[in-house]
């Protein structure tokens, strides 16, 4: 049931939206914890001196600046772009916008809820996700410049 190979695009979107949502949530939790370190870690609840925060930050930066995390971020970038645009598509659909209107049944016609507009936004989400991969690969690892 997890991989709906025989079902339509909408079913894939449903599965992907869930997977990307869960993974991005995990990233978000780690991200909030990790950026907390920029100001000196969990024990600092006052404003630390500039130099202290800076030294602490440099250490974290050293730790994060490696290809494993970079590739992880690229994957997160893919997921964020997909989840964002596909989420917009779902919101529109849930509010009854961009869907076809009900009418008399036409045999063999695709369901009106799978409107060209809806399909287009789905493919835009995929395209943007691919763009996000290329862009963040460059922004993180400088692949285009190399």
């Amino acid at each position: 049931m997890l991989f709906p190979s025989r079902y339509s695009l909408e079913r894939w979107s449903y599965t992907l939206q869930r997977i990307t949502g869960v993974v991005v949530t995990l990233y978000f939790v780690l991200h909030v914890i990790e950026t907390g370190n920029f100001v000196g870690g969990p024990s600092v609840w006052y404003v630390p001196p500039y130099d202290y925060a800076r030294a602490y930050y440099e250490e974290i930066r050293e730790f994060l600046h490696n290809p494993v995390f970079d590739v992880g971020l690229v994957i997160i970038g893919w997921m964020v772009a997909f989840h964002a645009v596909n989420g917009l598509r779902l919101t529109l659909a849930h509010f009854g916008i961009t869907l076809g209107r009900p009418s008399r049944v036409e045999p063999e016609a695709p369901p009106r809820s799978f409107s060209p507009f809806q399909r287009a936004i789905f493919w835009i989400s995929i395209a943007l996700a691919v763009f996000a991969v290329v862009y963040s690969l460059n922004a993180l690892m400088g692949v285009l410049a190399a």
Partner: protein, 123 residues
């Protein structure tokens, strides 16, 4: 809160993330010249228009970041709740997980707000 309210907020925060998240990504990634990486520019501590500290010190960017934090926390916690309640349709499990998610959400908002407030004030 009724399920209707909870889900309505899910859409609203989703749109909110779209806007505030775009600003966040723009600051971190899209201000970086194509021939440089973020590690040489925005991921510096200071001394760059969009280095970490400069972003937090800018009141407008910092408040956008805070909104993004709140929106994402709600959206993520509610999303996990939805997935879990559909996967494990057991009433007592659903109400138990609700409190775990509220606690995790509160932690994220408090901890993230702390980061933003402290960084805003580092001079």
């Amino acid at each position: 809160m009724s399920e209707r309210r909870l889900m309505l907020l899910h859409y609203v925060t989703g749109i909110g993330i779209l806007i505030t998240g775009a600003v966040h990504l723009w600051v971190v990634f899209f201000t970086v010249p194509l021939d440089q990486t973020i590690w040489e520019t925005t991921m510096l501590f200071d001394n760059h228009p969009f280095a970490i500290l400069s972003v937090y010190r800018n009141a407008l960017l910092a408040s956008t970041l805070w909104l993004l934090l709140v929106f994402t926390t709600y959206h993520a916690m509610n999303g996990i709740r939805v997935i879990l309640m559909e996967l494990i349709p057991n009433r007592s499990f659903v109400s138990a997980i609700k409190w775990v998610l509220i606690a995790l959400g509160l932690f994220l908002v408090v901890y993230g707000t702390r980061t933003i407030l402290i960084a805003y004030n580092i001079r």
